[in-house]
Symmetry: C2
Subunit: 588 residues, 2 copies
């Protein structure tokens, strides 16, 4: 594994020379005469130079909603559009049958990714030449042997910036990490490439990764393509925005508190947070490294649910535990995907809806999304009951306390290398002097253990809470899956996404969870603000969020739901998400 080293001396070695040169920074390294701002500007300029001139948008739109702009841009051919609007399943089928070459598919997605980037600023590293060379190899292999190299043969796949690819930078939005192409790919990258994926772009993240918005001092802010006054969510916000604009069929993000699911939800696409230690993480860059209690996991985002399932199945099929010491030795289970523990395929399931978490009552559109889902599931013959929240605030605050135990030192260990400020607010009018909001304080190891002990107890209590629902269902089983909001709102204006309680409990409890777009969008007629005088306390979110809400503020924002399963039920939760998704599609 590459020791990327926050303590790495950035001025050493010759490997960086070429990159500095490309950045116009000949033989320059970090020194007192070079400001972090100049470094960031040079890096951003180098990124701009990667954009092919012929794909530049001449008249950039000023609309809030740009989700349909790529279609109308004139830059995409009919074939480009057909390709980029296909599901992962269709793409893989047409790639495998040679109906579409990988070079063609990669070109189409590359074009659309570059268009997307100009609209919402979603990319970090752009390496289309490398991608096309790989696509060509794959096409030749298929032509020569008649065989695909693996289940992802020829498919363009985007990666969150932190996923290391040999020879490419992983700045993760940190200025100190500019100019250091990594020496070794993450295990996940090796597996994706062996499976036939064509990696072509990396995507934007917030500085530190530990925000549910996406903004940093190198690449700037990623916006929500459905309404650019809103955040794309984060920290995999570059992925969310890119895929929503169909600039990539499938991407890998990471999730430690909602970082796959929040952008998937806000951007109206599918996303999956797998259980701890199923998808290999070794060899990737990360924040809070060594924090072994609430683990970050890699998970896919896609325009189609089949994309999520395909990539998880593919990665597990490569026996990642033989390469990554932290991956659990457990095969993909077709049996569990056939819902062997949930009455078998096609059987009646019992879903429970968490209408609110006792911390915030969701805005009207979010409530409507849950109602739509309930109606669709009932129409499909399933049972739907109410989910009683259980210590949701305590669970979230416990996780924040674990992160905060050492996060300040972690962030500063990198920012101090370049002198860049630690971002304290994601608001567009932030002055840079804002203090980062925290829910906890630095702790001693022993104090941290007490918080982690509490977490263990909460996990056990929640399991008992779930198991006890057997008394409320007609299936003879406890609730099969829980359906919840992704956030109390459809998205948030930049700088105001400060509530991750609807996602973070799944990280604390290690519950696999899938984000599904209901297909509905915020609607001024249907989602009228209702009078309210009572609010959850003591946390201020409920009142703040209520007061902020108008349907106009969230114009065009998609309405997502979250489907939550029990620890290590990754296969089952993907299968049950298909049940939910099919029900929603057939009820629209």
């Amino acid at each position: 594994m590459r020791r990327r080293g926050k303590n790495h001396d950035p001025s050493h070695g010759t490997a960086n020379h070429g990159v500095y040169k490309r950045l116009g920074l000949h033989s320059v390294s970090f020194n007192p005469t070079m400001s972090w701002k100049d470094l960031a500007a040079a890096k951003k300029q180098a990124q701009l130079e990667k954009i092919p001139q012929e794909w530049l948008i001449k008249d950039l739109p000023t609309d809030k909603n740009v989700v349909d702009f790529p279609k109308k841009s004139g830059l995409l051919s009919d074939l480009d559009l057909e390709i980029t609007e296909s599901s992962v399943a269709t793409l893989l089928q047409n790639l495998a049958s040679s109906k579409w070459s990988s070079v063609q598919v990669t070109t189409s997605f590359s074009k659309r990714a570059i268009i997307a980037h100009q609209l919402v600023n979603c990319l970090t590293e752009i390496f289309l030449d490398r991608a096309l060379a790989r696509a060509k190899e794959l096409d030749e292999h298929l032509a020569r042997t008649g065989k695909v190299v693996g289940p992802l043969h020829g498919l363009p796949v985007s990666l969150k910036d932190q996923v290391n690819i040999k020879g490419i930078e992983s700045t993760m939005g940190y200025i100190a990490w500019i100019g250091k192409p990594v020496e070794k790919s993450a295990i996940l990258v090796d597996i994706l490439e062996e499976s036939g994926a064509v990696l072509f772009v990396k995507t934007n993240v917030p500085q530190t990764l530990m925000w549910v918005e996406t903004h940093n001092l190198i690449f700037g802010r990623t916006s929500n393509p459905h309404n650019r006054t809103l955040t794309s969510g984060g920290s995999s916000g570059g992925e969310g925005a890119l895929i929503a604009l169909k600039g990539s069929p499938l991407g890998l993000g990471s999730d430690i508190g909602g970082s796959v699911r929040v952008p998937a939800g806000f951007c109206g696409i599918y996303g999956f947070r797998p259980s701890y230690h199923r998808i290999p993480y070794s060899g990737a860059a990360n924040s809070l490294e060594g924090q072994d209690s609430v683990n970050s996991v890699f998970g896919p985002l896609s325009q189609s649910l089949d994309g999520l399932t395909t990539v998880v199945k593919t990665v597990l099929g490569k026996q990642p535990w033989l390469r990554d010491a932290h991956v659990i030795r457990k095969q993909w289970s077709e049996e569990e995907y056939a819902l062997s523990d949930h009455g078998g395929k096609g059987g009646k399931l019992c879903f429970a809806i968490m209408w609110d978490d006792g911390i915030t009552k969701p805005d009207p559109p979010i409530r409507r999304g849950l109602e739509l889902t309930k109606k669709a599931l009932l129409a499909a013959g399933h049972e739907v009951i109410d989910w009683k929240p259980y210590k949701q605030a305590e669970i979230g605050l416990n996780t924040f306390a674990i992160w905060s135990a050492g996060s300040g030192d972690d962030y500063r260990s990198v920012t101090q290398l370049s002198g860049e400020p630690l971002i304290g607010s994601m608001a567009p009018d932030a002055t840079g002097n804002e203090v980062r909001p925290v829910f906890g304080k630095p702790l001693s190891a022993y104090e941290l253990w007490q918080v982690q002990k509490k977490k263990r107890d909460l996990r056990q209590e929640y399991l008992n809470h779930w198991s006890a629902t057997v008394a409320q269902t007609s299936t003879g089983r406890p609730v099969d899956a829980v359906i919840t909001p992704v956030a109390p709102y459809a998205s948030a204006p930049h700088g105001l996404n400060r509530n991750l309680f609807y996602t973070v409990w799944c990280n604390a409890l290690d519950y696999p969870s899938v984000i599904i777009p209901t297909g509905a969008k915020v609607d001024p007629v249907l989602d009228v603000k209702q009078p309210r005088t009572e609010f959850f306390s003591p946390m201020p979110f409920d009142k703040d969020i209520y007061e902020r809400y108008t349907p106009e503020l969230y114009e065009d924002a998609p309405i997502p739901i979250q489907v939550v399963g029990r620890t290590m039920e990754d296969e089952a939760v993907l299968a049950m998400s298909k049940v939910v998704d099919d029900a929603l599609r057939s009820n629209l």
Copy 2:
């Protein structure tokens, strides 16, 4: 889960009243007039009163080696002897066929456990009445229904003191925890009882659990039945000594650095450290709670290898992940037990022997044990190569640093409740003022994360090291299992077992490992001390241990080996241990 609470007020409530009364401590609780010594003495006295008079040994032997004493004691009938000297498989078969009643089997083991206790001081809680009542119920159930209640029907099982049983104390050797019968059984206890086990005694541990010897200020010291001048090992030393004397066919201990394996090895029995999170831990007492990085695991000790396999298979068969939030959802795999990932059943395996770990060269008998094993495996048609140690010292020191990050506060949070001193030496001549030896210091959470980050890297490096052995084997696979010493010595004089490097690396790397007695014992003729002038450095163990060695010091001590598999290969490592065990038996 019961919150047993180190911060629990010991004087509260009425539930303790009866216990205090039984202890002769009517309405007494912790107060300045009651010294910790008085409390300890009263508890020990109460334990003595649990011993049936008719099972008292009249003339206690003075021999060092008492392993055969029970046979000659005159207290056991021929049937008692036949029963207590049977393997777990035979016991279960004869219990299921009603050849032996559970009442009979429980009585035989109870007698022998009480004899054992008088020889080596291995027990803590004794609850024979409860056990016999349960045995009677099981006998009646079998007579009535013709069916066993589960795979462990009628089998007496002993438990390390920390495993909570409703209504019984779990002092864990802490005086502050005297007089508090627990309110809820550990999930493991529920599962064992539902599977038909008859719990009858709990076994001794060191104060804090964090020693590889067994001594505390309530119950005192447990000795090695093969040579009572030596330690039984720890922390599951009560189990090791009890089972070696055949006072229990099967016990459950815990292992965070060798605590199942060291006593199994020193006492000449079988022991198994499973991978993290396969055997449920919820609801048990523990040390260093909330330390989520190097996890303690429960594992079995037994006179027979089949005992280990049976109990693991039984527990996993009860789907413990449905009850314990931390257990991995992974069934017992018959396929993996049939060595599907190791060339299939009966195929040629490649073992690698770690002759030394680069920290200490094992004493002559330990070396001989490895040589015997090599010879036996070669004779059975397997391949045996040398294992190259990899950063063994660094791995051990890293784990010690993780423990030490908060252990001092953890221990003191309990000892300060009663005023008992924190034991600083396990030597018989300790004055009580010794300072506990430590390998690390208290850390901040952020500093702890840096140590844990290093651990993650070491795990990944070790996996790569193991995978690379594919180039050295003739099987086309990397080494199937590694064979190592359990410790550099066969045991240690009381107070001198200070080296756990041969076991702790498996905890750090999460490698399942089985202890097998070679059948050989330390022999003054075969195990002559050899001249040596060069020693491993910088740690002092190698020279110290060399200088200490004489075959006479370790007279009659059994010689064990350890079989180590890869993370989550629990089934395979048990199966490969059977291969090793069969080879050793057929070569004796």
